[in-house]
Symmetry: C2
Subunit: 332 residues, 2 copies
């Protein structure tokens, strides 16, 4: 039997279990020429998927109602009639939230379980790592001794951004939502300082204190009031990588924030929306660098691994309550 | 006798006459070696000067209290002990709001009254034209047939931006605050469409209607709710040149606007604070291009010329009520 998760409703505000529908049916095991039969092993759940559940104009088309949801998946090849893959291979790609599926192989990459745990190919050696590396280097253009602030710092992307910042000689300040996460930023990921936005009354002052020379680069995963507090602390020629806005993804009305224009003008600062898929030409270099740093133990990562196909929707929903540390992955 | 205008108070909110002080004193006519004696002919008043009247951190140091205010000035050389200039020359530069003054010549450029009216060197052939040209080309990176929206379109910079946009083959939509200005945008400056933000109830819909293919480039002079309405209409990979934020310069509290982050992320859009002085290496090319277009009658400009030294402060204040059409200049 094959289980599939479909998008039943477009979420209003925070997604809920009733937005998802489970379907169980007989497995379709007929593999045509050029195709693969895949068994899903790991499923990535990511904040950006929230955007695809809405039908607002965006950089990728929205998920269709009553069709399978897709995200990054690691799967095992059960049967192959495609020259590029053979049974027993493991592959990574954008695939359905489905236990067993057929693919034509397009967009799939072979991954090597002897070099890193399979789940790492959804995280530090997958979109997460590529996002952190290309966002920070291509837009942030870091120079040693500059100050980098990362929001959502204990998240999948944020924790990698901070570590790369340290490797490149930056002063790195992370913002996260629990004392435990702040501790982790400093002890495990080597951040210079951490700020718990839930217990800090004056975020603007806290950032000014942690960054006495001002903020040169802001890697923004959250948007909203946290980003407002960083913005008032930016330096001349600051670069702001707008990678995500998880704090406002579930807003049903367009959220209000500080007007950014005066700060951008007076600092000649840059704010750039970042989508990793615009930087595919940088992926080979990025993968090489990330693998090297990982092998040299210069990079580490956290994962929150949830078990069981049926828990994919709840794992996704938990992202918006910050229940994950690092990359959230569902293991089948 | 020499008259000087000093900054008496840092304005709270909108500047008022009481923020300025006039001083009259015996002229200091001693010209030392290397110096020039200058008679002020035209004084430029510009929105950005509001920023220098505050003591907030900015890209240029604030004006000092009880010291002369400075802006772009065209002056006649009355006497010269500087090899680069001679009596009778006209010069352009950042000079005091002062009828007669001594300069060491630093930062002054000779201007030719036979090639263009003197006031043009404060406008289309001065900072105004350079701002329009370098902002639009360096950050906007226009491609023919794209859609450009300009706010503050009937202002000094905006009216030049729109014309350059047309020369470069763009569809150009201007936003301004009176029907008369809208008419001028279309009849004099060749804009394809104009929107009067004061009489338009639904700016978002009006922009969507004027830009059915979406907005690729937004040259923003105003910030605030007008910019919010443009932002929701931007295309993927849109470029937003944040040149000014006149609508919020006088706010005493940091203004709130639409959160820009979600729009930047989902469109991979760029928002860049623009200061013309960061692009001095592009000035020769820009001046050449602007002069050529002006000589070919491809560019035209509007000026609001106010007469009399004593009217400099009120001319400056009038900028914030949109009383100028095009470049506001005071003639002595």
């Amino acid at each position: 039997m094959t289980k599939t998760i479909l998008l039943k409703n477009r979420p209003e505000g925070k997604p809920s279990m009733s937005d998802f529908e489970f379907k169980t049916e007989e497995s379709e095991n007929t593999v045509n020429q050029g195709e693969l039969l895949l068994e899903t092993k790991y499923v990535s759940v990511d904040p950006y998927l929230r955007g695809r559940m809405s039908d607002a104009k965006s950089y990728v088309p929205p998920f269709q109602l009553n069709k399978p949801i897709q995200s990054g998946v690691i799967a095992k090849v059960l049967e192959s009639k495609n020259d590029k893959f053979k049974a027993g291979d493991f592959v990574s790609g954008m695939l359905n939230w489905q236990t067993i599926q057929i693919s034509n192989g397009e967009g799939l990459t072979k991954v090597d379980p002897s070099k890193a745990p399979l789940s790492a190919y959804l995280g530090i050696l997958g979109m997460t790592g590529l996002t952190a590396y290309t966002g920070l280097t291509e837009i942030g253009k870091p120079k040693a001794r500059e100050t980098l602030v990362v929001s959502g710092a204990a998240g999948a992307v944020g924790s990698v951004v901070g570590q790369i910042g340290k490797i490149l000689g930056l002063k790195v300040i992370g913002i996260a939502g629990t004392d435990e996460k702040i501790e982790l930023l400093k002890s495990k990921f080597g951040f210079d300082a951490g700020i718990n936005y839930k217990t800090t009354k004056d975020m603007k002052a806290a950032i000014a204190e942690a960054a006495p020379n001002g903020v040169d680069i802001y890697f923004d995963n959250v948007g909203g009031p946290i980003s407002d507090a960083v913005l008032v602390n930016i330096n001349r020629l600051a670069r702001i990588i707008v990678c995500g806005a998880i704090s406002v993804y579930n807003n049903t009305e367009a959220p209000k924030s500080l007007s950014v224009q005066p700060f951008l003008v007076k600092n000649s600062a840059l704010m750039q929306g970042f989508i990793v898929s615009n930087y595919t030409d940088k992926f080979p270099e990025a993968m090489k660098q990330l693998s090297t740093w990982l092998a040299e133990d210069k990079l580490t990562y956290s994962e929150t691994i949830v078990k069981g196909f049926d828990n994919i929707p709840s794992a996704f929903i938990d992202l918006f309550e910050g229940k994950n540390k690092g990359k959230m992955v569902v293991e089948l």
